[in-house]
């Protein structure tokens, strides 16, 4: 990022290719609408480009990027209440195609598992979902999640614990 702030466009391209998938999936699974995810994905990179000279390598780049994304997501949540209906959630799930390289029998059971996980994620309260996604998609630790969400370490642990309990409940039904 420092190289890009100094004018090195190739550095930005490398950075972008490395993080585009993570950021996009975080946004898509947080927002549950492709159009919203597309919009915020672009907005997120725009803000990053605009703020390139303010970047300081104190934190990981991923943390900084997801911090911007999280702020945008929270803004969007605030504007979009009430949340999407279960029908809309099902529509999103249908739009997410499964990989082609799976065996039919195994694919069926795995599909069911993935479907349940997706549904569980959709049902999670926003704060728990964001904490969970920051962990599994962004690979962030408790401190980093707390830094991004503005919550203490114990709060983050609590959110994750609740999230896991809800997901487990979905698998037991």
């Amino acid at each position: 990022m420092l190289a890009y702030a100094g004018g090195d466009l190739l550095a930005f391209e490398t950075l972008y290719r490395r993080h585009r998938g993570t950021l996009y999936r975080f946004l898509l699974r947080s927002l549950r609408h492709r159009a919203d995810a597309d919009e915020l994905f672009q907005e997120c990179w725009s803000r990053l480009v605009a703020a390139r000279e303010r970047y300081r390598p104190d934190a990981k780049f991923t943390t900084w990027l997801l911090q911007i994304a999280h702020n945008l997501v929270i803004d969007r949540f605030r504007r979009q209440r009430p949340q999407a209906s279960p029908e809309e959630t099902e529509t999103v799930l249908r739009n997410l195609d499964a990989p082609d390289s799976e065996q039919p029998e195994r694919a069926l059971s795995e599909f069911e598992q993935r479907r349940r996980l997706q549904l569980a994620l959709e049902d999670l309260p926003e704060e728990q979902r964001v904490a969970f996604l920051l962990r599994v998609e962004g690979g962030l630790g408790l401190e980093e999640i707390g830094e991004i969400t503005g919550a203490g370490r114990e709060t983050v642990k609590s959110r994750l614990r609740y999230a896991l309990a809800r997901i487990r409940a979905r698998f037991q039904t």
């Binding site: 004018g7 585009r20 996009y24 597309d38 599994v136």
Partner: protein, 290 residues
């Protein structure tokens, strides 16, 4: 899949390095990727941001640089235009602009049409001399000085006209036609020169050839001097410097110092300081600013 039932154990597994079973399952979810149009849009924006990057306080430099560039371009265009006019006057005027020539520059334009009749009326030997001189006469640019010719110099002055058929072989009829009006405009001079050319052409051929070559050498030198790329103006260079990465910019400043262009180096360094106020300066460069 069997998920652990103890919430704390579940959390520990999630926070483990491998992320546990749940993270593994999450990673098997469809890997949604941003569409390509977003890639293009983001990368384009990033590129524009870098290319268009200039510190706000220095934007006036862009204006000054642009103005300097325009002046430079206009100057080059003017020089090229002048060269073209001289070139035409020397060698190609009869074909392209002879009809307008008599009213424009009576001092030297009439000489051009004379070449045609002179060559026509010259004996075969003179025609050979014409042919021999032609290839070498192709680039005779700025030798046409609008100085009135003296009678004693006439024999030699035939030389440039003798060289003119370098163009006429390509399009003789238009050349002849174009030569006619100019010749009519100066009948006495034309006749006198025709006569002199007819009697002295053969003798003048060899002398003219050497004379012409000497002129060409001078002209080529003049042309080279004129055509040599002018060193970029200070503001243009500064503008280029602003596009460099900080380290490259400092290296460029050092290079300027090595080239003995101290003032340019200082200007560039001042600009660097304004553009990158937080970037540390090496001691030897900081001393330049003090």
């Amino acid at each position: 899949m069997s998920l652990p039932r103890d919430p704390d154990h579940d959390l520990d597994r999630l926070l483990a390095d491998d992320g546990g079973e749940l993270t593994a399952l999450y990673r098997r979810l469809p890997k949604a990727e941003p569409p390509r149009r977003l890639d293009r849009s983001v990368l384009g924006e990033a590129a524009r941001a870098v290319r268009g990057y200039t510190p706000r306080r220095q934007r006036w430099l862009l204006g000054v640089g642009s103005a300097a560039g325009i002046v430079l371009a206009a100057g080059i265009a003017w020089h090229v235009g002048q060269d073209a006019v001289r070139h035409e006057a020397q060698g190609e005027m009869p074909v392209q602009s002879a009809p307008a020539a008599p009213s424009r520059n009576q001092n030297y334009v009439p000489v051009q049409p004379l070449s045609e009749p002179a060559a026509k009326h010259a004996p075969p030997m003179a025609q050979d001399a014409v042919g021999a001189a032609a290839p070498a006469a192709a680039p005779p640019p700025a030798a046409a000085k609008p100085v009135p010719r003296k009678a004693g110099a006439r024999a030699k002055d035939v030389a440039p006209p003798l060289a003119q058929p370098a163009t006429p072989p390509v399009a003789p009829p238009p050349a002849a036609a174009a030569a006619a009006p100019a010749a009519e405009a100066f009948p006495a001079q034309t006749q006198r020169q025709e006569a002199e050319a007819a009697t002295g052409a053969a003798r003048a051929g060899a002398a003219a050839e050497s004379d012409l070559m000497a002129k060409e050498r001078l002209d080529d030198k003049a042309l080279r001097t004129r055509a040599a790329p002018a060193p970029p103006s200070s503001s243009v260079e500064l503008r280029r410097d602003m596009q460099l990465a900080p380290e490259d910019w400092l290296a460029h400043v050092r290079q300027l110092l090595h080239q003995g262009r101290r003032q340019q180096a200082i200007e560039s360094l001042r600009l660097f300081r304004k553009a990158h106020p937080r970037h540390p300066l090496p001691d030897e460069l900081r001393a330049l600013l003090d």
